[in-house]
């Protein structure tokens, strides 16, 4: 993490990759498929959000564990800012998914297990922020929110595996529906998709690093005054 903070080539890389994602994702040819048609382009904007969310939440939990081990305030800043970013990714993922579902499934919210699981993960982390705000003492707040972060994350993981067993999903890649590999005959989608995943992940890392530096600076100012 330290090396990436000192250099900035990856920021240029992120800009280039995302520019390619937006232009290529909207303009390059896509396979002509019934029902899906042009909506398959949402692949580049929806799926990377979930990859990003799971990645960022895992990072948040790792820093929560590190915080409990060391009591280093920096780790708490990392953990809470990553959770913050994860919620942003999750909201974007839900919104893009709902827009897509409106045109392919006929309604924005159809009680699909995938939709429910994502809504519940968001509820968990929104509760995490309410918990942080309702404890006055700073050290106690850090420790208890780290505990809840770990507790909720390890219960969210089985949920993501249990829900699909309880009901069938319409989501591509679930319940007998093929994932995008089956549609992607000429590898055109794949090129843009992998670029998009890396690009959005880098953008997330960029935002998180700015947020972390901002809250560290704010804390310093508060302590100085």
């Amino acid at each position: 993490m330290g090396y990436l903070l000192k250099t900035n080539w990856w920021k240029w890389l992120c800009v280039v990759l995302l520019a390619y994602t937006v232009v290529g994702g909207l303009l390059l040819p896509v396979p002509k498929l019934p029902i899906l048609n042009e909506t398959i382009r949402v692949l580049h904007f929806h799926v990377p959000m979930w990859f990003g969310m799971i990645l960022v939440f895992s990072g948040s939990v790792i820093y929560a564990i590190k915080y409990l081990k060391s009591n280093n305030t920096m780790f708490d800043v990392y953990s809470s800012q990553l959770a913050n970013l994860g919620v942003a990714f999750g909201v974007l993922g839900i919104v893009t998914g709902m827009v897509w579902a409106k045109y392919t499934w006929g309604e924005a919210w159809s009680n699909d297990p995938k939709q429910n699981a994502s809504a519940i993960s968001l509820l968990i982390y929104l509760a995490y922020f309410i918990l942080r705000n309702s404890i006055k003492d700073e050290q106690q707040r850090n420790r208890i929110s780290a505990v809840y972060n770990i507790f909720a994350f390890f219960l969210m993981i089985p949920l993501l595996f249990i829900l699909p067993r309880m009901a069938d999903s319409l989501h591509p890649g679930n319940g007998g529906n093929p994932g995008f590999n089956a549609y992607d005959l000429d590898s055109n989608l794949r090129k843009v998709f992998y670029t998009a995943v890396v690009g959005w992940a880098l953008l997330g890392y960029w935002i998180a690093s700015i947020n972390i530096r901002l809250s560290v600076t704010q804390e310093k100012i508060e302590n100085a005054s």
Partner: protein, 228 residues
């Protein structure tokens, strides 16, 4: 944790039993909280009896039973740490956190199981009773109660430290409890539908493993809450 690594030292078992006895005595002497919970249970079931009378299929019976159990559990168990407010300083010197959480887990499990059985009796009187396979239903009920009681005990310990406890209890508890709730409602609907053990054993074992995850996490994480 500088204690020696041994699974069940006799002294700890005695301490846990003492703590459970203490919880039981406190509840027995105060009587108000228990009477409150019982009345809460009875009036919720009676209200839903008035509302649902006449169109109760076994699926609705099942969902209603578990939802009422869920709300009673969250009300009943939220007190388990909140009532300790003035005593917590003494515990801090006398007890290891592990003994304390052990006793709380066992006590709230017994408490919730008693509530569940009572609720089953009231349901039978008012709504009738669609259960055919009692042994499977009770096993599933026990596993569900174990998950509910231990998750809510942990959440109660967390919300004990916050400023608005009763709201935090619901906000933090509901998303966390969903795996247990979904599995146990699903299982018990299938049991009422006449499924046998071999058809639901996969889901039952998943429920057991979720319970184990909850209890293990509670053991690992509780000392960090208690220390602050």
């Amino acid at each position: 944790m500088s204690s020696k690594v041994s699974i069940l030292p006799l002294q700890d078992v005695q301490k846990v039993i003492q703590l459970i006895k203490k919880d039981f005595l406190v509840d027995w002497r105060q009587q108000n909280p228990i009477a409150g919970i019982l009345l809460y249970l009875a009036s919720t079931i009676f209200t839903s009896y008035m509302a649902f009378k006449g169109f109760l299929s076994f699926e609705v019976w099942n969902a209603l039973f578990w939802i009422i159990l869920l709300f009673t559990a969250i009300t009943a168990i939220s007190k388990s740490f909140i009532q300790e407010e003035r005593r917590s300083l003494y515990y801090f010197f006398l007890m290891k956190p592990r003994d304390l959480i052990n006793s709380k887990l066992i006590y709230s499990f017994i408490y919730l199981l008693a509530i569940a059985i009572l609720s089953l009796i009231i349901f039978t009187v008012l709504f009738g009773n669609p259960i055919v396979n009692y042994s499977l239903f009770v096993i599933n009920l026990i596993l569900g109660c174990l998950g509910l009681s231990s998750a809510f005990t942990m959440i109660s310990a967390i919300s004990f430290k916050t400023s608005n406890r009763s709201v935090m209890m619901a906000v933090l508890g509901f998303p966390v409890i969903i795996p247990v709730l979904l599995l146990s409602i699903g299982n018990s609907a299938q049991i009422l539908d006449g499924y046998i053990w071999s058809q639901i054993q996969g889901n039952m074992l998943t429920l057991v493993s979720v319970d184990v995850i909850i209890i293990a996490l509670t053991f690992v994480l509780f000392p960090f809450i208690w220390r602050s």
